[in-house]
Amino acid sequence: MKKRQSFLFVGLLVCVALVFGMTSGAMAGKIRIGVAAPFTGNLASYGDNIKAGVNLKLKEINDAGGINGQKVQLVWGDDLCQPKDAGIVGAKFAADKSIVAVIGHLCSSATLAAMPIYVRAGLPALSPTSTNPTIGDVGKGWFFRNCYTDDFQGKYLASYVVPKLLGKKKVAIFYENNDYAIGLKDSFVAGAKSAGLTVTGAEAYMTGTTDFTPQLTKLLRDKPETIFLCGYHPEGALIAGQSRKLGFNGPLFGADGIDNEDYIKIGGKAADNTYCTVPFLAASAGPAGKDFAKQYKKAYGRDVDWMSANAYDCLGILAQVIGKVGTDRKKIRDGLAAMNWPQFGYKGVTGLTYFNEKGDCSKPAFVKKVENGKFVAAK
């Protein structure tokens, strides 16, 4: 009996040694970059898009021999778009010294939760998608993003999309209770004033709600001409459906959180006549962007979305910086911070990216709309 136990023990030791051996072996020659996004949960389809985008770039880099001869390896961190899970992922990435930089997080609430951890550990993070304007302050120089902020997006919606494109004046706002949506709502309201729009009402909902009829009933009482779906696509699609059931036939609009194939899948016919702003639109992109859209369609059989494109460029930016300065975390940060003028910027599929002192970049917004169950460029 005793012999058997010691056998087991030795076996266990061997297993542990093997596991460690394998991971350290993998670490040896590879540059490891963390990618944090929701890969499961309600917003898993965002994570899928991020994965699709970075994997295309990863293949490109590694097929070309890696960065200065070193292959790149991605480490996935599932934050479920939740601040508490983002904290766990953040701590894990920060503690793993082999990880040199992070692409992420995706949702603003998650990024806001993880940034203090990265700042303490001195780990640079480059988010493809977090648009909340306050992240730059929390990031203290360790945060960068290659998407625009909601300060810009909200005002663009208020000054151009609603009055010019939709030709509407009375807006009801239905926002999700999280950092992304509240920031977006506030900047929209600020922009609405100067654009001469009337906000007929603003109601909030909690993430994961399925019944929106009480709030919609209240909003529709004031006869808005259009409803602002200020949040992410799963709830947005349900709100679209329920507002149609309550007899609302006007156009709906949202921001970058709405741009996802699932919005149409869940919303069905009710999703038609929805407009949303996105940082990347294949139809309006330059030749590099158009090529990328084709390549993406070939690889995954679906149309490219803005998150995939931004994630693709994020890895491109990191690869360029690491190629110049090596794999030290602090040097990568300095390398990113040095991209502070257009001539030092990165020309990717989403256009030119360069950062200001807060890590923000200026990118134009494009407008998409849903027509007959498909996203098309809005004219």
């Binding site: 499961t40 949960g41 309600n42 898993a44 389809s45 209770n177 109601e203 909030a204 909902y205 909690m206 994961g208 399925t210 019944d211 009829t213 009480p214 709030q215 009933t217 209240k218 009482r221 799963p234 699609a237 349900l238 459906g241 329920q242 059931k245 309550l246 007899g247 699932d262 899948k265 869940i266 919303g267 069905g268 016919k269």
Partner: protein, 298 residues
Amino acid sequence: MFLQQLVNGLTIGGIYAMIAVGYTMIYGVIQLINFAHGEIYMLGAFFAITFISFLGLPFYVAFLVAMACCAVCGVLLDIVAYRPLRQSPRLAALITAIGMSIFLQNLAMIIWGSRPKPFPHGALPAYFEKTAVTFGGVNLSWFHLFIFTITIIMMVGLNLIIKKTKWGKAMRAVAQNKTMAALTGINVNRVISYTFALAGALGGAAGIMVGAFYNAIFPTMGYVAGVKAFAAAVLGGIGSVPGAMLGGVILGVAEALGAGYLSSLYRDGISYAVMIIVIILIPAGLFGKVLKETKKSM
């Protein structure tokens, strides 16, 4: 707007009532808060969309088959998780219930994935979306009427089963005193299984209706609904079937009116506040009997 909010509240309230009845019946017979009940509700919705999209069953048939599957799930849940613990402390069973809830949620995540799924387009009868009645500026669709009718039929049916049938009598007997019931020749375990089957079928039906009406089905949908229904059952007096029905409706209406007239951010808070106030004023709940002896109402 008041009428419309009332309709909104009654729709979701009826659903809460159907789930709450499941909590209260199971509590009645084995004094266990079955926290996995919300997951049976979630499974109901998933079964229905699976039957519709993979087997191509029409909506009404899928509805009934999914309900039957949920009844079976309820019975299995009892046999696998709770029956072995019948003689152990109540806390052990309670923790097992929470464990089963987490297990079923994750199982559903593995089987169906974690993305929200729409109810299959075109699966619902076309007239469901059409307006059936208009009064005071409120349009009631056939779907609303369907939900109201099903809720009422099930509630009345359940009452008849409990009050008029032999099984109902056996359930009430087991609820009052298991040992005495067994001595009079009642097969206690079978009665408990029967109760779980009834609770499961009702919960499943609620899940299908929510999934179809609000058009979103996801593995964690049972959690919030389960907590709300539990609150409704407590509000009505846990162990009391009419109490659970009324509790569900009150909670649903409080939620809709709270979101409509007070603040939408505190919508859930308002419904729980209503529950807390009732419990403070009437500790046994609306229909709960004060427990002097071991007598409990069913």
